[in-house]
């Protein structure tokens, strides 16, 4: 059985955990808090005392420029600890906002310290998660710096699909992604009108449709080709590898579904 805890589901896709390690993580996630849509969770300059684990909803990391322009640096869904760096780096160098109503689990830094000291394999799993985070930033940098708008948008849709699939939030090339075109523009460095035009082109080419927050991928191979998308940088474990250290296999996040 895949765990109901999205963090465990996500880490299982990256690194095999033992049932004992899963229990420890499960226990650390018992304090939750709810946010509405478009609220700041942490702001640049804050010194948080907890790490935030997203249990439900969509959030993003962003920076605001002096002229009011916003750069979104990543999108997050259930299973992401989007400010795990606050545990080590102390002062936030960017802000985090919800995009939809969100439920978060607060994991005190003190608990993070206890867990990572007592369970070095959990520390390694979280380390891998952080490294994959960095790999995703490298991919975004490549997109924003060099890929044409059409490929940028296609690549982002592919990435969101595979990341949703990895935590059981996507199925059969359909997933919920209720972001606005303005948010996609802020993430990809494109004007609103250019995002609109690129989405329209993707739709007209029969690759993907967008309907009230739901993405339906009509032609996965075509979309991946349009986005120059290769999921290698997400470093997900192959589907035929045992998901748990115990050797037990779980379903719900296999790349074979692509």
């Amino acid at each position: 059985m895949a765990s109901n805890n999205p963090l465990i589901r996500k880490l299982q896709g990256l690194f095999p955990l033992t049932p004992e390690e899963e229990r420890v993580l499960e226990h650390a996630c018992n304090r939750t808090v709810r946010f509405g849509a478009d609220e700041d969770v942490v702001v640049e300059g804050d010194r948080p005392s907890d790490c935030n684990l997203l249990l439900e909803g969509l959030a993003c990391r962003y920076k605001l420029l002096p002229d009011g322009k916003r750069q979104i640096m990543s999108f997050h869904r259930a299973g992401d600890i989007f400010d795990s760096q606050s545990f080590i780096l102390e002062v936030m160098d960017h802000s985090i906002a919800t995009l939809t109503p969100c439920t978060l689990a607060l994991i005190p830094h003190k608990v993070m310290l206890e867990i990572t000291e007592a369970h070095p394999r959990i520390a390694r799993a979280l380390w891998k998660d952080t490294l994959v985070d960095a790999a995703i930033f490298r991919e975004w940098m490549t997109s924003i710096g060099r890929r044409p708008a059409y490929a940028r948008v296609a690549h982002l849709v592919c990435e969101e699909y595979v990341r949703s699939l990895a935590v059981g939030l996507a199925k059969d090339h359909v997933f919920e992604w209720p972001v606005t075109q303005a948010e996609i523009g802020d993430a990809l460095g494109l004007s609103f009108v250019h995002v609109n035009r690129s989405l329209k082109e993707l739709r007209e080419h029969g690759l993907v449709t967008f309907k009230s927050g739901r993405v339906i991928i009509k032609d996965w191979d075509g979309l991946a080709a349009a986005g120059q998308f290769d999921p290698a940088y997400l470093h997900l474990r192959p589907a035929d590898e045992p998901t748990r250290a115990s050797g037990e296999r779980t379903d719900g996040h296999s790349l074979t579904a692509l």
Partner: protein
């Protein structure tokens, strides 16, 4: 907020039927230049194929409020050589 329509004419013209809500004509001007820059960045080959490039911003009544033009030229003497 008024709705503005961004039509791109670049050989295989793209007519904007949906439009975009923006706070002011100034915001539409900014959006027009940002959009033109973004599209032009990706369109080098099409430009040199010879089609003049034009982005028009129209209002809900279909009246054109502003135009961004872009064209490339090769002097005849160079083209002939």
């Amino acid at each position: 907020m008024p709705r503005y329509y961004f039509h791109v004419h670049d050989g295989y013209s793209s007519i904007d039927n949906e439009g975009t809500e923006l706070p002011s004509l100034n915001a539409a001007r900014e959006e027009a230049v940002q959009t033109a820059a973004g599209i032009l960045r990706d369109s080098s080959q099409k430009l040199w194929a010879g089609e003049p490039w034009r982005l028009e911003v129209a209002d809900g009544a279909g009246d054109v409020l502003l135009t961004v033009n872009f064209s490339v030229q090769i002097p005849a003497v160079v083209a002939a050589s």
